[in-house]
């Protein structure tokens, strides 16, 4: 891969000042499992890599009082192993476990998965159902954006070139039951053909579809239909499948056809809802 300068700041201030200086010629190096692939394939040619893994605050999973803060440098395996995440946000641990492979999850981060904003990202649908937000720090200060608003398109986020994502904020919640259904061709190291995150919390259903549009799709109509139904069974879910299909915009690509994706969303929704229903 083409060469670059590698810099490892110790503080957020240092990192931000490097970004201000180098602007679009710099890229943030975190887990590196998306970035290095893109550099190697010459899709991007950064002149500077700013390694943020040593910044102390970024390595924490912290109880904020209002919920949980997951720092930028927390790896997916650390997330999965965290009692705080498993006990309160199990759907997030389960989704994180779907990413890549064991080795990859020892380097890849939750924040990286969000910032990379692949339409097939595995952690994003769960984060959307959890009403998670992105905590951003920049030279002009800090701001918080919902994950749903943060993701704007394929690999496009709301992040400015002088900003860094510090972490993900998960709001405090009542007991949740959830499941992320990922349909893939093989068990590990495969992108989602479709993804359906189903959450049940405070007597309400929350649904988010992944890999069926340029951004994650919150299934508001699907949720409405589920919330209105006194009885959830296979028959109902077969009908609600039509509503689900009306909310998504799948495409045909190397992994699957539009038609197959559409069919699999019906299957995924049904299976995920029935699973959550059985665990309520």
């Amino acid at each position: 891969m083409k060469s670059f300068e590698y810099i490892k700041p110790d503080t957020i201030e240092e990192a931000l000042s490097l970004l201000s200086l180098h602007k679009n010629e710099a890229k943030i190096l975190n887990g590196g499992t998306d970035l290095l692939v893109r550099i190697r394939e010459q899709l991007i040619v950064p002149k500077y890599l700013i390694d943020i893994k040593d910044i102390p605050k970024f390595k924490n999973i912290l109880d904020t009082g209002d919920g949980l803060f997951i720092g930028a440098a927390v790896t997916l395996n650390e997330l999965i192993d965290s009692d705080k995440v498993r006990n309160h946000y199990p759907i997030l641990a389960q989704s994180a476990h779907e990413v890549g492979s064991y080795q990859l999850r020892n380097r890849a981060t939750l924040v990286g998965n969000v910032c990379n904003a692949s339409p097939a990202a595995d952690t994003i649908p769960a984060l959307v159902t959890l009403d998670a937000s992105v905590k951003i720090v920049g030279t002009k200060g800090r701001r918080i954006v919902s994950v749903l608003d943060f993701i704007q398109g394929v690999r496009k986020t709301d992040l400015n070139s002088d900003e860094i994502v510090e972490g993900i904020l998960l709001p405090k919640t009542e007991k949740i039951v959830g499941h992320y259904y990922k349909y893939t061709r093989r068990q590990d190291v495969d992108l989602a053909i479709i993804g359906v995150a189903v959450l049940f919390v405070n007597n309400q259903w929350k649904i988010c579809y992944g890999a069926v549009a340029q951004k994650p799709i919150r299934g508001y109509k699907t949720e409405d239909a589920l919330n209105k139904s006194p009885v959830i069974n296979e028959e109902l879910l077969d009908q609600i499948g039509d509503i689900a299909v009306s909310e998504i915009f799948p495409i045909t690509d190397v992994r699957a056809s539009l038609e197959y994706r559409t069919d699999m969303v019906r299957v995924g929704l049904k299976r995920a809802v029935l699973k959550v229903q059985s665990e309520r």
Binding site: T33, G100, Y102, N106
Partner: protein, 154 residues
Amino acid sequence: MKYTVSFKVNGERVTLEVEPNKTLVKMLRENLNLTGTKEGCGAGECGSCTVIMNNKAVNACMILAVEADGKEILTVEGLAPNGVLDSLQQAFINNGALQCGYCTPGMLMSAKALLQRNPNPTEADIKEAIGGNLCRCTGYNSIIEAIKDAACKI
């Protein structure tokens, strides 16, 4: 422009000057002649470059050489330091868990990392641990049996 990296590999302290765009797998193979670790896909998908860094199984092709500074790395060469095979290596041989051998170092390191963190793994644990290691020859069953076998012997 070269950077100084100082780290431990297979118990030995090493200090090198490397270009920032060199990956860990290339540094191990080219600067240190530790060619046991293989580069298959170079994109973190096949696992043939798996090494153990600070007790965690990682894909060395997805790590820059400069990121190894201050770390402790174990490669397949470190499994048999005095020529005595690790119980995993012996179990792979006893169970016929290799044919061409290309995936084997990566498989061994994933398995080693597994047994270090979980000496009594279930079959599901084993499959999770080697899920990121592709094998085109064996069909995986002999590898899984070999890991079960080695786990029993700890």
